[in-house]
């Protein structure tokens, strides 16, 4: 009954004191559980704490902000072979050498700091603060060295993917209807290094920001390249006279798979529930993946099977060529046990169009989602490896 009243609205001046008083009673917001590293302690949207509030009036809608709970990670994941670790170590060392002591301290974390390693997101940095240092806080030399390191880790296509996602954020900075002050290819992207870069021990380079997360873990000559988040808002835009479509390759090859499905195959591929964002997004590191569903790739034609491989390659191919080749070999071998599935719709601009590739190891999701910044749907995509995220065996295994 009292709640009836709470919902009821106040007139002009009664409302005036409302804020003053609710400020006093803000203790009704929920605590962040101690085992949880709140990623949004500094989040500007006041009432939504990291672990979205439980207080009356707190929490609810803004609670999409992510939280990161440390899971047990080891270094025994099924890494890809052929890593260019020597080059990466050289680039990482060169980058660290450009930093003064205090900045270097901010960039370099312990390899065992699992919560920090898990701190990546689709959100802008203002909503979910990242680890490490923003590119905008680096001088020109350091920034160039940081991007050189990222370039070394990736294939040319992978590095171009990073650049176009950053360009999308620049576009948002100039054109966003609402959202955040942190948009921009410099201010919204962070770099962090976990452990001491070495050709023998384990270390991880984390580069990401809004709609981007590269978590590359190296161990000797092997590497893990997941979790890997790519997305873009808007889907396409122009810079000068050049049209840019950051996710063109990844989305295009994936839609080719679903466009090729016969009615019968499509019926098998369709998931019953509705899904409006990726399920294995940031903070979902428990190692538990959704039950395998969808149409078996083994039941598709040879032509269709090659389309599935093309789609997987579009994501894996962001890594340096030998690493990508090693992973593609694994995923190709497991193709017959892989399934593809979709929810809601499989049209390019459909509301909450959701596409998935689900293999014994490979996991790819792409979804049309919405924000307040632009009027149209935009992409969120994630690529994970069930036996190798963060270079670790599956935490639940």
């Amino acid at each position: 009954m009292t709640k009836i009243r709470r919902t009821i609205v106040a007139p002009i001046a009664a409302a005036a004191l409302f804020s003053t008083v609710t400020a006093c009673s803000s203790d009704s917001d929920a605590d962040t559980s101690s085992s949880t590293a709140s990623a949004s302690a500094a989040a500007p949207s006041s009432s939504s704490s990291g672990f979205a509030g439980g207080g009356p009036g707190g929490g609810g809608a803004g609670g999409g902000l992510q939280t990161f709970t440390a899971v047990d990670l080891d270094t025994d994941g099924a890494n890809a072979s052929g890593a260019n670790t020597t080059a990466v170590v050289t680039a990482a060392t060169a980058f660290l050498a450009t930093l003064d002591t205090s900045t270097a301290g901010k960039v370099n974390y312990a390899f065992t700091d699992n919560v920090s390693r898990q701190t990546w997101s689709n959100y802008p940095a203002q909503q979910v603060p990242r680890k490490g240092v923003a590119l905008s806080d680096l001088d020109d030399d350091a920034k160039a060295a940081a991007m050189a390191l990222v370039k070394t880790m990736l294939s040319p296509a992978g590095y171009a993917q990073v650049q176009t996602i950053q360009q999308a954020d620049d576009w948002l900075r100039a054109n966003s209807a609402s959202g955040t002050d942190s948009f921009g290819s410099d201010s919204d992207y962070y770099i962090a290094i976990y452990g001491k870069p070495s050709t023998t021990g384990s270390f991880m380079v984390q580069f990401g920001g809004h709609h981007l997360a590269r978590n590359y873990t190296y161990k000797g000559t092997t590497a893990s390249i997941t979790p890997d988040f790519t997305g873009t808002e808007p889907k396409s835009f122009t810079i000068g006279n050049t049209a840019v479509e950051p996710m063109k390759e990844k989305a295009g090859t994936l839609f080719d798979v679903f466009d090729s499905l016969t009615d019968d195959q499509e019926a098998k591929a369709k998931l019953s529930g509705t899904i409006d964002d990726i399920l294995m997004g940031p903070g979902v590191d428990s190692g538990k993946f959704p039950a395998t569903q969808g149409v078996a790739v083994a039941d598709l034609s040879a032509q269709q099977q090659s389309l599935v491989l093309d789609a997987i390659r579009a994501w894996v191919g962001d890594a340096s060529p030998d690493v990508a080749a090693s992973l593609m070999k694994t995923y190709t071998a497991q193709l017959s046990q892989t399934r593809v599935a979709f929810a809601n719709s499989d049209t390019v601009d459909g509301e909450s169009t959701y596409l998935r590739i689900d293999g014994p190891r490979v996991w790819i999701e792409l979804v049309n989602t919405r924000s307040r910044s632009t009027p149209n749907v935009h992409y969120h995509g994630v690529y994970r490896d069930k036996n190798d995220d963060y270079g670790s065996t599956n935490p639940s295994a």
């Binding site: 007139p11 001046a13 005036a16 008083v21 605590d31 509030g53 439980g54 009356p56 929490g59």
Partner: protein
């Protein structure tokens, strides 16, 4: 009200209108209407001794996706819709005790609240063990998640119904259940993980949390505040002949505010105590409807005084009703007898503190404004707004209407309290500046600026808006009625009195109204009366 508007000189009417328009624009374009892909549900548990109550927030956008039909704040409360949604949530919410027995779940309620700019359907649920006290249990909840797989649900809990909620879990497609510990005293497995995560907010925090509860309750209960505000509106005035007249005496205005606040405190304290002790109990619907009525009555009183010193009388009598509502809240808290007294005192203190904050925020601006002719405009506008809102509440609470159509309007107001307070202060400052410059005082400019006789005779008695030094636009040459006095409603001159006697006859002379209908000449006759003695 129109007559009052006419008394506002153009140069200030401009800023006032601009402020109103700007406020309106800010309210109208406030962010939040757009859908947010990651809005989450929230389940808040109040773990009691005999039962667990739960408040469930369901974001309408996500609920709409799950149910495959869009909901608006208005249509989600349609009787059939909301009852279907209650049934849906009831099927997806359950508690199981350590022996595997499932408790009785009941879902009731249904209202729409805006949370972080997104509308949420809020339902109330109770989870009750088949027999015996509440022990440790496992909460299972998969509403929305069962159909919208990417949805997330935050579960939080607290004990003793006061203090903080502690977030216990985030449910998602990965997990839809979470263990919850019973009240510490009845916990069967005090070492369970749930009790360590969810037990800190126990009811023993007592007094301070009760104060918080009082503050929180009255500040969230806009009807209490609106009631108080309506009573404060005419505080700087005196009731003269069933009208409000301005009264320059600051000290007496202060006394009246004190009287009103004290009267309300006395009224609600009596029934709060009686109700909390269980000696007086009225049906909730009756109390809630009565409270809406009290706002309506106080709003009417702010427009035209109903009784001399009526605000004190209204405050104390309707205060009794408000006290019953407060008591009902405390009753729902399931308090032990031992803590009742401290809780009662703390809760009441919280309410009083909040009242004083209202007074402190509103009264200085009101007093400044009351020295000018803007006050009647503001007073009547706010009172009418209050009356309309109160009428809508009354209709909803008494069951005349299924929902409150004005709720979205009011919600917008609630979400921008600082702007509104600042707006009131800005108006107050503008009024004060104008008053110091000699405008808006309700007295002819001539009288204020001590112009030479020739100029003053040119200003006319009706309204002298022309600033001194500029030629008056009013060319009617007439003598100033030097005995005229300003009231909050206009001139109290002999001419005005005569006009009133014609245009506002006593009720015993109803037939005179006939003369005022179009085509009849009463008003024109009145207008022809010379504006002089």
């Amino acid at each position: 009200m129109l007559t009052c508007l006419r008394q506002v000189p153009g140069f200030l009417a401009g800023p006032v209108v601009v402020v109103c328009v700007v406020l309106g624009a800010i309210l109208a374009f406030a962010p939040g209407a757009s859908a947010h892909p990651l809005s989450t549900s929230v389940v808040r548990l109040d773990v009691g001794e005999r039962t667990v109550t739960a408040t469930v927030d369901l974001p309408l956008d996500q609920l709409g996706i799950a149910m495959d039909r869009p909901f608006t704040a208005a249509d989600v409360l349609d009787a059939a819709t909301v009852s279907a949604l209650r049934a849906y949530v009831q099927g997806d919410l359950s508690a199981t005790d350590s022996t595997g027995r499932t408790w009785v779940t009941r879902v009731a309620g249904g209202r729409v609240t805006s949370i972080d700019g997104a509308d949420n359907l809020v339902l109330d649920a109770t989870l009750t063990p088949g027999s015996g006290p509440v022990g440790d249990f496992v909460l299972h909840y998969d509403a929305v998640v069962d159909r919208l797989v990417s949805h997330r649900v935050f579960v939080s809990a607290r004990y003793g119904s006061t203090g903080r909620y502690t977030t216990v879990a985030m449910l998602s497609w990965q997990t839809q259940s979470v263990p919850i510990a019973a009240l510490p005293s009845t916990s069967t497995t005090s070492t369970s993980t749930a009790s360590t995560t969810a037990a800190p907010a126990s009811g023993s925090q007592g007094f301070v949390s009760a104060v918080h509860l009082g503050v929180e309750h009255i500040s969230g209960g806009s009807d209490h505040l609106l009631f108080l505000l309506m009573l404060l509106l005419p505080a700087p005035l005196a009731a003269v002949e069933r009208r409000w007249a301005s009264r320059p005496d600051l000290g007496r205005a202060g006394w009246r505010v004190l009287h009103v606040v004290t009267a309300f405190a006395v009224g609600h304290s009596i029934t709060l105590a009686l109700g909390a002790l269980g000696w007086v109990r009225l049906p909730a619907r009756l109390v809630e409807s009565g409270i809406a009525l009290s706002v309506l009555v106080s709003a009417v009183h702010a427009v035209r005084p109903l009784v001399r010193r009526g605000e004190v009388l209204i405050a104390v009598t309707f205060g009794l009703l408000h006290g019953l509502a407060f008591a009902a809240l405390l009753g729902a808290l399931d308090l032990g007898r031992g803590s009742l007294l401290t809780t009662l005192l703390g809760f009441n203190l919280g309410i009083e503190i909040t009242q004083l904050v209202v007074v402190a925020l509103v009264m200085p601006s009101l007093i400044l404004i009351s020295r000018t002719v803007v006050h009647p405009v503001l007073r009547i506008a706010v009172a009418l707004l209050g009356a309309v809102l109160a009428a809508a509440w009354f209709a909803q609470r008494s069951g005349l209407m299924p929902g409150d159509p004005l709720e979205p309007v009011g919600e917008l107001l609630v979400e921008h309290p600082l702007i509104l307070a600042a707006g009131l202060a800005v108006v107050a400052v503008l009024c004060e500046l104008a008053r110091r410059a000699g405008h808006l005082t309700g007295k002819p400019a001539a009288a204020v600026t001590r112009d030479e006789p020739g100029a003053s005779s040119a200003t006319g008695t009706r309204l002298a808006t022309a600033p001194s030094g500029r030629p008056s636009t009013c060319q009617a040459v007439s003598r100033v009625d030097h005995q005229a006095t300003a009231t909050s409603r206009g001139w109290n001159s002999r001419r005005a009195a005569r006009l009133r006697s014609v245009s506002r006859p006593k009720p015993s002379r109803w037939p005179v109204y006939w003369l005022m209908l179009p085509g009849n000449t009463a008003t024109r006759k009145a207008a022809r009366i010379a504006p002089t003695d």
